[in-house]
């Protein structure tokens, strides 16, 4: 009797457990396989994101490949999602105002490298992969510059709060610490600072081989996904939408690079309000390199520029017989007389200057 009872309990428990796994499992599988219109989008709030994704170069990648699923994002994500449902019931947030949190964004970013491994590695090896601690706890910087609310415009544009919520104290004395220690290693310039993943675009495809022109000259390489994320506007500006500043040098207009990527770089590597070349963090090239795109020398993700001189100058330049690779061309060293951004003819030809005088 007792055994049968036990057996029955086990059987029922087994059925319940199996049922649970079957239902949740089928739900999970369904979620992973079905079209987003039937799953993610059944919650109408993300309509705008769905629409942009559907017109984007990433349209063949399903939601969860980048955003993960409730399970793959860990338990905290389940709690977060149920919290979202609760908020949704309680308040009426306009769908255009729905955004990922910084944490969700960073988790999503980690999945970029599943496809873009080389870009990710390059980014990781360059200055733009700095973490919050690298920027906001930098002693030399904090002693000479005053931390303020606008730092986040270029370092930590996805941070939801203010500089005062991030670092303590906001003074030049220090010692400084991050109020939320988990931010230490989080990147301040994640992929999404310069890339709009849902930007309209074409999926990768081969050129039209029937038309030879199309294979070579007429092929249009678009950089739709490149754009600047404005912390103030909480949206991306595509390159073409970004302004091309009127730059001056000693009162004369400077020819800025025609490559629209310059407009992206100059948003943060910005001149002072007077738009004078070389002020504040501006690197607009003048002198012999005037008008040349940032990307002509800098690898876009690592920003590495080493040996890029070779692209235009052979190892020993025909013109000046100087090995440009051995010249001190960095802006970081104030002793450098050949800052590549400002180098002029007279730097290599001092004799010419004397003559003209």
């Amino acid at each position: 009797m007792k055994q049968r009872k036990l057996y029955r309990i086990f059987l029922i428990a087994g059925i319940v457990i199996a049922g649970f796994f079957l239902i949740s499992g089928s739900f999970y599988t369904y979620w992973s396989v079905a079209s987003p219109q039937k799953t993610c989008l059944s919650c109408h709030e993300i309509n705008p994101s769905f629409n942009t994704w559907e017109a984007s170069a990433h349209r063949d990648i399903s939601c969860f490949e980048c955003h993960g699923t409730a399970l793959s994002n860990g338990l905290h994500s389940l709690k977060e999602k149920s919290g979202m449902v609760f908020t949704h019931m309680k308040t009426d947030v306009a769908s255009e105002n729905l955004r990922m949190t910084e944490l969700q964004l960073l988790q999503t970013m980690e999945r970029c490298k599943n496809c873009h491994e080389s870009e990710f590695t390059n980014w990781k090896s360059g200055g733009h992969s700095a973490g919050y601690a690298d920027i906001f706890l930098h002693e030399t910087h904090n002693k000479t510059e005053q931390l303020n609310g606008d730092c986040l415009r270029c370092h930590g544009m996805f941070y939801e709060k203010t500089t005062a919520d991030l670092v303590d104290p906001i003074s030049q004395q220090g010692p400084w610490k991050l109020i939320e220690p988990e931010k230490t290693r989080q990147p301040v310039i994640p992929c999404m600072a310069c890339h709009q993943i849902h930007a309209p675009g074409e999926t990768v495809r081969q050129p039209d081989f029937a038309n030879p022109n199309n294979i070579f000259y007429a092929r249009n390489l678009t950089k739709n996904s490149v754009g600047f994320y404005s912390r103030h506007e909480k949206k991306h500006f595509q390159l073409e939408q970004l302004p091309r500043p009127d730059m001056v040098l000693f009162g004369d207009t400077v020819q800025t690079p025609a490559d629209p990527v310059y407009r992206l770089c100059v948003q943060c590597h910005a001149p002072s309000v007077w738009h004078e070349v070389g002020t504040s963090d501006d690197h607009t090239p003048v002198g012999v390199h005037q008008g040349i795109s940032c990307n002509a020398c800098h690898e876009p993700h690592s920003n590495n520029q080493r040996n890029s001189c070779d692209k235009c100058h052979s190892d020993v330049s025909k013109n000046c017989r100087l090995d440009v690779r051995t010249m001190n061309t960095t802006y970081a060293n104030p002793a450098s007389s050949n800052d590549i951004h400002f180098v002029g003819c007279v730097n290599c030809h001092p004799d010419q200057k004397k003559k003209s005088n």
């Binding site: 005053q146 303020n148 203010t162 103030h232 309000v273 007077w274 738009h275």
Partner: protein, 553 residues
């Protein structure tokens, strides 16, 4: 639960209340500073023109909220009463946040001239006006101007202005460089034999006081500063007061009334806390610094046995003589771009026409205008030209960068009937009678405005404008605005003023006023620095009277 007794309650954490709280707290008095709003920051509004302090069409970024605050405005022609909300012009709003207008202002840092304190002596009695001398002189206030300039922070360089009142100590920061239109106007004024100079500004031109230098955003006036380079009471004296350990700041609290005992002394205040719950805070003394409108309203709402018409109002002077500034000037069109995006715009001024103008009472400082953001600019057009359609769009497109405006705050002549009173029938969110604004400007204002507008026109023509039109202020309607002043006038005679020369109510010895309400006349300048100086002044008077547990009288 009752709050523990404190020495002083300061009502309103703005230009006046901040310095008072700091003076009292650093001199050992226990203080509770009340503010009806909260902390405001740039991230809350960003560069959004439509909710900024100058263009509140979609709400007030700095408060107050229209769900809780409203007033009655009485039309001077028809007598019709309208309910007005904070985002509407007739409400005459001041920012409701810690720092109040000093968070969102353009930050001009003017000292009034010695003549501004002796208007009646200089200009005589004016029919239909309550024009009067201040009971204190420029010299009395000078040390407190200096305190405001150094503790809150002012940049500028006075010696270029021959009309500048005498000062004992130079300003702590150098002036700002002129932008393109500033340079043009500077040269033009010099050609006319006037005396242009860089406007003194409550903005850091160099790193100062633990905050960085201004980097000249276009979104400055009517916005909070994104880098904290604008100096207000919220980032200077109030933090000092809080750091002293003697001052507690209670935000989002609406003060209801000053409690009075039968001996005619104040015992504290009643207020509603941030949850809307009624509370009591007892204190040895009460300082009211809620702006000309709200200070008067609070006194009028504080009815008691000895003061049935409101605290300190037995002679019916509370709420009277409401003044603002009759803004007047001219706008000029140029044939090339002037706009260089070097904010905030205003940078050059002249003070040649503040006084000594034939047949005119007073006058006003003149300066180039702050940048008009795109929506505000839709009202900037020559008279008679269309306000919509293709022509309007063409004008906007062609001239946004080619328009220059010179303006000045003309000193107004106070009159008894321009006033704030309370409406017992209309209650706000907390059930408190709302303020009711009524009256008109004095007709003499118009003459001052016409005179100043003519000078502005000359200045623009000299600078090269090919077309100029005047925008003359001082119409018959009630004045006030953010420069509101005068409703609790200080004076020596208790029958014709509300407070004595210390800012203390004539009739209630432990209630003080410390804001623009005290000002007998409003000067021909933006009043922020003078209100701050008055805050330091009143604070210092209280400290001098304070004897450990009570005021020595």
């Amino acid at each position: 639960m009752t709050n523990s007794h404190v020495n002083a309650v300061v009502i309103g954490a703005g230009a006046g209340g901040g310095p008072v709280a700091k003076e009292l707290a650093t001199n050992g008095l226990s203080v509770v500073l009340f503010e009806r709003g909260g902390w405001a920051k740039y991230d809350d509004h960003n560069d959004d023109e439509l909710i900024s302090q100058r263009t509140t069409v979609l709400g007030n970024a700095f408060g107050p909220h229209r769900d809780k605050h409203w007033r009655i405005f009485v039309d001077h022609r028809s007598g019709k009463e309208t309910l007005v909300y904070p985002h509407e012009g007739a409400y005459n709003n001041n920012a409701a946040c810690v720092g109040s207008g000093t968070v969102s202002y353009g930050a001009m840092a003017w000292r009034f001239m010695p003549q501004d304190f002796r208007m009646k002596t200089i200009y005589g009695h004016v029919e239909g006006s309550t024009l009067e001398d201040w009971p204190i002189s420029y010299e009395d206030l000078e040390p407190y101007y200096e305190k405001a300039e150094w503790e809150i922070g002012v940049s500028g360089q006075d010696p270029q202005n021959p009309f500048v009142p005498e000062r004992k100590k130079h300003l702590p920061m150098p002036p700002f460089e002129f932008n393109r239109e500033g340079k043009m106007l500077y040269e033009a004024a010099q050609r006319r034999g006037w005396h242009p100079f860089p406007i003194p500004m409550l903005r850091n031109s160099i790193p100062y006081n633990g905050r960085p230098a201004c980097y000249r955003m276009r979104t400055c006036v009517s916005f909070a500063c994104p880098v904290n380079a604008k100096c207000g009471t919220h980032n200077t004296v109030i933090p000092v007061a809080l750091a002293s350990g003697n001052c507690e700041l209670r935000i989002n609290c609406q003060v209801a009334e000053i409690m009075m005992n039968d001996q005619g002394k104040a015992t504290g205040i009643k207020y509603f806390d941030e949850n809307g719950k009624g509370q009591i805070q007892t204190a040895d003394l009460v300082v009211v610094s809620g702006s000309a409108t709200e200070t008067a309203r609070l006194l009028l709402n504080s009815k008691s046995k000895l003061f049935p018409n409101g605290a300190g109002n037995n002679f019916d002077w509370v709420g009277r003589n409401l003044q603002g500034h009759a803004y007047t000037g001219a706008v000029g069109l140029f044939d090339r771009d002037l706009y260089d995006d070097v904010g905030p715009g205003a940078c050059v001024a002249i003070s040649d026409f503040n006084h000594g103008n034939d047949g005119i009472i007073g006058g006003g400082m003149m300066a180039n205008e702050f940048f008009r953001l795109p929506y505000l600019f839709t009202n900037q057009r020559p008279p008679g030209s269309p306000s919509w359609g293709k022509d309007h769009k063409d004008f906007h497109r062609q001239n946004y960068k080619r328009v220059m405006s010179v303006k000045g705050p003309c000193q107004e002549i106070p009159n008894f009937e321009a006033r704030i009173t309370v409406d017992p029938k209309v209650k706000d969110y907390w059930g408190l009678p709302v303020g009711k604004l009524m009256g008109t400007r004095h007709p003499a204002d118009r003459k001052v405005c016409e005179f100043v507008a003519d000078r502005c026109e000359e200045w623009l023509i000299e600078a090269g404008a090919y077309r100029v039109w005047k925008e003359i202020g001082g119409g018959a309607g009630l004045s006030g605005g953010q420069h509101q002043a005068g409703t609790c006038r200080m004076g020596n005679d208790k029958q014709t003023s509300v407070t004595n020369k210390l800012g203390q109510l004539h009739e209630i010895e432990n209630v003080f006023v410390a804001d623009g309400s005290l000002m007998v006349t409003n000067g021909g300048f933006n009043p922020a620095l003078t209100i701050m100086a008055l805050g330091f002044y009143v604070g210092d008077q209280i400290v001098k009277l304070w004897k450990g547990t009570h005021l020595k009288l």
